[in-house]
């Protein structure tokens, strides 16, 4: 498999490009008001077709997270980060809590045991607080 800076071949590439950019905005790596890489820069970095990269950018533009400034390029809109973080919180239950419960049930762990585990691991400082 050819290197594509971490993209995989099982999901549409434009979706993955959009997800990467959105994650970058949510994590603050791309600040509001900042210029995002051009289609050609993205194409060269991910080693993908420029039309595919453009489609990824279009997803975020349609979503109101990016805006075009004529002749200069694409920029992160004001409020983009807040929008993304709100969305991630809304998805948190479905993406993380429910799978956790499913697996715990499969292993025969009850709710109390799960809560205790969450509490225990919370004492260990992990991850980056945003």
């Amino acid at each position: 498999m050819r290197e594509m800076a971490g993209l995989d071949e099982g999901t549409p590439l434009f979706v993955q490009v959009a997800e990467r950019l959105a994650a970058d905005i949510a994590d603050g790596g791309l600040a509001e008001g900042e210029r995002v890489p051009s289609t050609n820069e993205l194409a060269a970095f991910y080693r993908i077709n420029p039309a595919t990269a453009a489609k990824g950018i279009n997803v975020l533009t349609d979503d109101g997270l990016l805006e075009k400034r004529r002749g200069i390029g694409m920029f992160v809109t004001d409020g983009a980060r807040a929008t993304l973080l709100a969305r991630r919180r809304a998805e948190f239950t479905e993406r993380y809590v429910r799978p956790l419960r499913t697996e715990a049930t499969r292993l025969g762990m009850g709710t109390d045991e799960l809560i205790a585990l969450v509490r225990d691991t919370s004492d260990e400082p992990r991850g980056v607080r945003l």
């Binding site: 498999m1 060269a44 595919t52 499913t102």
Partner: protein, 300 residues
């Protein structure tokens, strides 16, 4: 958009076999298309006909709106780089000079930087070059010609992985700056897949698949696990392939997998693995005619 290449009902017969049967495709301008298929599927014949080096037995072939054969106006705007291209007995630099006279958009600076990247020497006679170096020369001509229609037919025989990466990167970079219509036939689908906007799969002379590359990614998923759970999950979905071993089954289903599906698979203890473009193409190219129709012309 008007297609730059338009092929309709193309058949090419030889005394002993039929290379292409009723092939119809349209290639939009400013796109990179992967031309894929097994050995002997008809890819080279198709490219040679597009380049005017061979005639159709029947059907119509238009490049820039005209038949390409013996048509100088078309041929100067088109380049075909062949696997194991034969050259007259002269130096690499002479081949580049000849190409620079023929192709109106030739970029000598690009040619120089490519031969440097590939470690070619213009003063070497072509006969003394290795297969890989001859391929590098062909690729250099194909890219530096900047022809509006650029056809690569398995252009990298003998090139190592590093040189192939140079080819992919330089193709993308130059295509970004100077968009053109590129057809690339290759066996190395996994390597080249991300370059393609569209893919055309030829199987035994027929078009088996004609779709956007991104439309195909995630179009089929392998569901594997205990037979009963697999059967329950795949019920009512179009199944493309089924394999079993004892109590375990592995089934390829068509169609997008939703978040809900994922959750259900997880609770059933099933693994879901999306098929890569290469895995899809391998299946499309090995099927009886028409069987790939469920994912034909998937547009995005």
């Amino acid at each position: 958009m008007t297609p730059v290449i338009s092929v309709s009902g193309l058949t090419r017969r030889y005394p002993d076999h039929v290379a292409l049967r009723d092939v119809s495709i349209e290639i939009a301008g400013g796109t990179i298309t992967g031309l894929l298929g097994r050995n002997g599927a008809g890819k080279t014949t198709l490219l040679r006909i597009l380049a005017g080096q061979e005639f159709p037995s029947s059907g119509s072939v238009r490049v820039f709106g005209s038949p390409p054969a013996e048509n100088e106006n078309v041929l100067r705007r088109l380049v075909l780089v062949r696997e194991d291209q034969a050259y007259p007995d002269f130096k690499a630099g002479h081949a580049l000079r000849a190409a620079s006279f023929f192709y109106p958009r030739w970029d000598a600076g690009l040619a120089c930087s490519l031969i440097e990247d590939f470690g070619l020497r213009a003063g070497n006679s072509i006969k003394s070059l290795s297969r890989g170096q001859r391929s590098a020369l062909g690729i250099t001509i194909g890219l530096a010609a900047r022809a509006e229609v650029t056809l690569f037919d398995e252009p990298y025989t003998g090139l190592d992985a590093v040189a192939r990466q140079i080819f992919y990167d330089r193709l993308l970079a130059d295509y970004s700056d100077f968009p053109r219509t590129v057809l690339l036939s290759t066996h190395l689908i996994d390597e080249a897949a991300a370059l393609f906007e569209n893919v055309v799969v030829i199987d035994r002379g027929r078009v088996a698949l004609d779709a956007t590359a991104d439309g195909l990614r995630g179009m089929a998923t392998t569901v594997s696990g205990p037979v009963l759970a697999v059967d329950s999950f795949t019920e009512g979905r179009p199944v493309w392939e089924r394999r079993g071993l004892g109590s375990q089954a592995s089934v390829v289903v068509l169609g997008q997998v939703s978040g809900e599906d994922r959750e259900r698979a997880r609770s059933l203890g099933l693994d879901l693995t999306p098929l890569s473009l290469q895995q899809l193409v391998v299946r499309a190219a090995g099927r009886p005619p028409g069987a790939g129709s469920l994912i034909e012309r998937t547009s995005a």
